[in-house]
């Protein structure tokens, strides 16, 4: 219980309004008078220090001799083919060199955290799966783990193993898109075609298992929605057999390609200290050489039972991020193979009637089972007042879910710690003093998913 600080219910407070209905006049909201989000005219050292983060060592070299009319602010996005969605950047250029950058986000904001407060705990996965649309299963997993933590229930071993199998396959498919778009943005168009082609085989397996290629709503509080389909081992084996050959092809295409090397080596460098200071996680952090992976540090769903390594980079540049992603695909394939070989038998969801609906066959013969089913899907289940934070390692880093319950059937507050949101705030320091031509390579290597950033 968190509210140990005494809750004084006797205190009477004058509150005029409880719920505001759209379209009616709102009594106490003042019009906002804050400054706008755009890059400001102030270029003082103090302002620059603020924009780059005051305690971070930065390589910014300010050239005082340049006259003002040699600087210009260029607007990039929000509609731009290489900004991966609706990312908008304001870039201050001095000739070809970027001096300042400001990411402006929010174009895809759909108020999902507000929506989550209207949905029951059981309906929640439908909402969160639309956040990071390239790693929907990780979003569902983080949410489901948080709900299970609040309920204090343990899911069966098979459910955990299925979750690991699906999320690791999801990591592969997400990294393939990252490689494909990274290649496309730098001009390696064949990489784009290959990446999306191989991703299809994984999405086909997802469709067979969950019914959908994206936005699965498959991992739910209490387990997973359905058992693996008949013949799943054949499909997974086919993926496992196919991928090493494909990865060799990617290496032939990119690994020692001189054009690729010159476009990625030493570009978009971020140091260890900067990455830690800016709360960066995932492949971008590991590319700087920091050995930090939530699957090792705070294992979830029994992932500690499987053997895998954490690939690390050295320089923290675009090339290292690309290499880390390729090597993570290899490690994920290792995990998938081990899960496939050791898949435990048993139930795929918890045998707790509080969260799990009765079996379909019971509904036909028992009125009570039908009522139970109906109540569970209309009212949902209530969770005692408490709060928790659960995080998983998504393809982009730490994806956390902060869940607060006040004893009702919907979350009182659901907050997602979105990895892309935090990774994106390092763009100003990553791009400072680099060439305009490297902008696209740097953004692509950050792999931002705007659905994850804006939520």
């Amino acid at each position: 219980m968190t509210d140990e600080k005494t809750i004084d219910t006797t205190e009477t407070e004058t509150e005029t309004v409880d719920v505001w209905v759209a379209g009616t006049e709102e009594p106490h909201f003042q019009p906002t008078t804050e400054p706008d989000q755009e890059i400001g005219p102030d270029e003082s050292d103090e302002r620059l220090a603020q924009q780059f983060g005051s305690v971070v060592e930065d390589d910014y070299v300010f050239d005082d001799e340049v006259e003002d009319d040699e600087r210009m602010i260029v607007n990039m996005g929000p509609q731009h083919p290489s900004t991966h969605g609706v990312l908008r950047l304001q870039i201050e250029l001095e000739g070809e060199i970027i001096r300042r950058t400001k990411p402006i986000i929010g174009y895809l904001h759909t108020g999902m955290e507000k929506t989550a407060e209207q949905l029951t705990f059981g309906q929640g996965p439908t909402n969160v799966t639309r956040m990071d649309y390239l790693a929907p299963l990780h979003c569902e997993l983080a949410y489901s783990l948080a709900v299970e933590k609040l309920l204090d229930i343990e899911v069966p071993e098979r459910a955990s193993a299925i979750r690991i199998l699906m999320t690791e396959l999801n990591r592969i498919s997400s990294h393939l898109v990252a490689l494909a778009t990274n290649g496309m943005d730098i001009g390696a168009l064949s990489m784009m075609l290959y990446g999306f082609r191989e991703r299809e085989s994984i999405l086909a397996f997802f469709e067979k298992t969950t019914g959908l290629r994206m936005n699965h709503n498959y991992i739910r509080p209490g387990g997973v929605a359905a058992d693996l389909p008949a013949g799943w081992k054949d499909d997974v084996s086919a993926i496992l057999a196919d991928f090493p050959r494909r990865l060799d092809q990617y290496d032939d295409l990119l690994k020692e390609n001189p054009i690729w090397l010159s476009r990625t080596r030493g570009i978009g460098v971020i140091s260890k200290e900067e990455a830690v200071a800016f709360s960066i996680t995932g492949p971008i952090l590991r590319a700087t050489g920091v050995d930090w992976d939530l699957r090792k540090a705070f294992p979830y769903s029994g992932i500690e039972k499987y053997e895998f390594d954490v690939p690390l980079g050295e320089n923290g540049d675009v090339y290292d991020r690309y290499r880390v992603r390729v090597l993570e695909i290899v490690e994920s394939l290792r995990i998938v193979e081990q899960v496939m070989d050791t898949m435990p038998k048993g139930d795929y969801r918890v045998d707790d009637r509080k969260v799990t609906p009765p079996p379909r066959a019971r509904i036909d013969e028992s009125m009570e089972a039908l009522i139970h089913h109906f109540k569970l899907f209309t009212e949902g289940f209530k969770i005692p007042a408490s709060e928790t934070y659960m995080a998983v390692e998504s393809p982009r880093g730490e994806l956390g879910c902060y869940l607060v319950s006040d004893g009702q059937a919907n979350p009182y507050r659901m907050h997602t710690r979105a990895p892309s949101f935090y990774n994106l705030q390092s763009l100003p320091i990553t791009m400072a003093d680099s060439l305009m031509a490297d902008t696209v390579a740097t953004i692509a290597s950050m792999d931002p998913i705007m659905g994850d950033v804006d939520r």
Binding site: T2, Q37, F278, S279
Partner: protein, 171 residues
């Protein structure tokens, strides 16, 4: 006894001493636990000094900053929650504080952890809580000219009127 004799991992010992050291200097900070996760309840006045002490103690990453609107359920309407992580000690805890409805203002953590910058802008945008000392406190997700703060509990979800064919226009 040595740590391995009583069956504790060395990490666990380190973790406890980290949090105890942190607790030592602050009399007004109360600790609680929720599902095995440590929570420090910090008064608003010591919010920043406690955060600095936490960074000194090895919590080098601020994973997340968010807030909860408790309306009338608590004397302090808003609860600001910062999620701190120590990679070295492999542990995390949350620090929370209450912010009143009259003047929802709290010290910013951005000078300590630059990574809190976007998160605090989001809290400002969604709850209307101001952060003293934040370098660039502007709206981040909502449009610049938006009125109100959407994640407050007294901000309705609203609705879009559905216009069926052949029906009379409602308003």
């Amino acid at each position: 006894m040595k740590p391995d004799e009583i069956g504790l991992e060395s990490d666990e010992i380190a973790l406890h001493s980290v949090l105890e050291d942190l607790d030592g200097g602050f009399d007004d900070v109360t600790w609680s636990e929720s599902h095995g996760q440590d929570i420090a309840h910090v008064p608003p006045e010591t919010w920043k000094t406690f955060a600095e002490a936490a960074k000194e103690a090895g919590f080098e990453v601020c994973s997340d900053v968010t807030a909860v609107d408790w309306m009338r359920q608590r004397p302090q309407r808003f609860e600001v929650v910062a999620n701190l992580l120590s990679m070295e000690h492999r542990t995390r805890f949350r620090m929370t504080t209450g912010v009143g409805r009259e003047d929802p203002t709290i010290d910013s953590l951005t000078p300590i952890w630059p990574g809190a910058g976007f998160a605090e802008r989001e809290v400002y945008d969604m709850f209307g809580i101001s952060f003293n000392g934040h370098p660039d406190l502007t709206r981040i997700l909502m449009p610049d000219d938006w009125e109100g703060h959407p994640l407050r509990k007294d901000f309705g979800v609203g609705s879009v009127p559905v216009q069926f064919k052949e029906s009379h226009k409602v308003d």
